[in-house]
Amino acid sequence: MAQPKLEISQLTKGFVRGRGDIVPVLENVSFAVADLEFVAIVGPSGCGKSTFLRIVDGLIEPDSGEVRLNGRAVTGPGHGRGMVFQSFDLFPWRTALGNVEFGLEMMGVPRQERRDRAQGWIELVGLTGFEHSYPHQLSGGMQQRVGIARALAIEPEVLLMDEPFGSLDVQTRDLLQDELLAIWQRKRKTVLFVTHSIEEAIYLADRVLIFTPRPARLELVLDVPFARPRTEEIKSSPAFVELRREIWQSLKRGVRI
């Protein structure tokens, strides 16, 4: 592989809890992500997935280890990465369009230009007609579409997605998976996608990383062989079922009794 887009080396992080004892959350996590690769991360809940993504985004600092984007160390949040959050976390006082504009506004893009660009992303995620709705007027699926558009609008090199569909119902979730893939085919990006759904991980990603329970370590890395564009049918293919079984085994192995 040429120079990786993203290099994670030896990330370790713990949180201080109570009277100064430290709870380790990440332990020596290292891997590299190629340009335009779609990587899914699965792990049991509470293992440290969100913490990991926050470190990659630059929101929190690791205790040791580092994240390199294009060979340069990440020291804080920046426009190279766009994050889609687990609980949507839209700004309730901004309309859909206003939310999508947010990152561009922070970058200092002039008003008219950022409005036009945000409108384009609104259309891409299928929210035309809802640009002036406030988040409380939108369904969960629509809110997360705004969340995706908000992250894409800053045209990040790496898209970080933290269980973006975890709180949606199954139908909406399946629909949004397909739409995400369609968007990704058109606007290729490097993606780190955290989920605890094994199927979702296989369906979306080129590669699946399996984290152990807290403290999260890398348990296993699996390549996903399916050609793109992918359709629902692959979910019932023997290869898919076998891969799912393998990941499931690995997740179980990680759970030490």
Binding site: L59, M83, D89, F91, W93, G103, M106, Y134, H136, R150
Partner: protein, 253 residues
């Protein structure tokens, strides 16, 4: 809109019901002890048309407005500072909570000594009675800004200053409106308290006169006026809020 649409008939029904109860309670009782709403409302209309009530009300509103605006000007920035800065909170909050616990009427003797009996003392009482209410509410609001939203702000590149202006301030606006509402009600209380406990002027003077003359209808018409004033202030601020913050869904509605 729908909130008002559903609430309006109920509100009207409760008012009419109250009137009927009041009328029944007052029937057959001497006018020195109690007066029925028909008489009180007639009196209210009469004193309004004669200009007596509007003049007194204007006088009262003058110190209400100044005292309340001063309280807002002090309490908003201070409340944000206390809510967002632990050191400031550690310094100010104990003192604030201690003074908050003192009954406002207990402050009147001090105000008389410091400000005399007239306009300045009334403004001071309005200020004192509303400033803590606003301060406490704004502090809670600033403290409870959703940390996830602040994180989203940082993730998208907002620096410390922008975090305050584009995330924290808008996130606290609903609390600011609540603070203004409770503060204004307290300020109206203080307005009339000041006119009764300091030199009697404006509405307070009218109340004292009515009481001395056992003029129950006059006294009750002033109480009704105060009720209407409080109601108008609250509904006005609520209307302003739904106008300015269309995104905010009040939990109670």
């Amino acid at each position: 809109m729908t909130r008002l649409g559903h609430g309006l008939p109920l509100m009207a029904a409760s008012m009419v019901g109250g009137m009927i109860l009041w009328e029944m309670a007052a029937s057959g009782v001497s006018g020195v002890i109690f007066a029925p709403p028909s008489v009180v409302l007639a009196r209210l209309a009469q004193d309004t048309l004669s200009g007596v009530l509007p003049m007194a009300l204007l006088g009262s509103l003058a110190h209400l407005a100044v005292g309340f605006l001063l309280a807002v000007a002090v309490a908003l920035p201070l409340g944000f500072a206390i809510g967002r800065s632990p050191p400031v909170a550690a310094m100010v909050e104990p003192v604030m909570n201690a003074i908050y616990a003192v009954p406002p009427v207990a402050m009147v003797p001090f105000l008389i000594i410091w400000f005399g009996l007239f306009y300045e003392a009334r403004v001071a009482l309005v200020f004192l009675m509303s400033v803590f209410e606003i301060l406490v509410t704004v502090t809670v609001g600033a403290r409870n800004v959703d940390p996830m939203l602040l994180q989203v702000g940082r993730s998208f590149g907002a620096n410390r200053f922008r975090l305050v202006t584009v995330v924290m301030l808008p996130a606290s606006l609903p609390f600011v409106f609540t603070a203004l509402r409770v503060g204004l009600v307290r300020a109206i209380n203080a307005m009339i308290t000041a006119e009764l406990f300091l030199a009697a002027v404006n509405l307070g003077a009218l109340m004292k006169q009515s009481a001395q003359r056992f003029d129950m209808a006059g006294l009750l018409s002033l109480v009704v006026l105060l009720c209407l004033l409080g109601l108008a202030a609250q509904e006005g601020l609520k209307a302003l809020e739904s106008r300015l913050l269309p995104w905010h869904v009040r939990p109670s509605s």
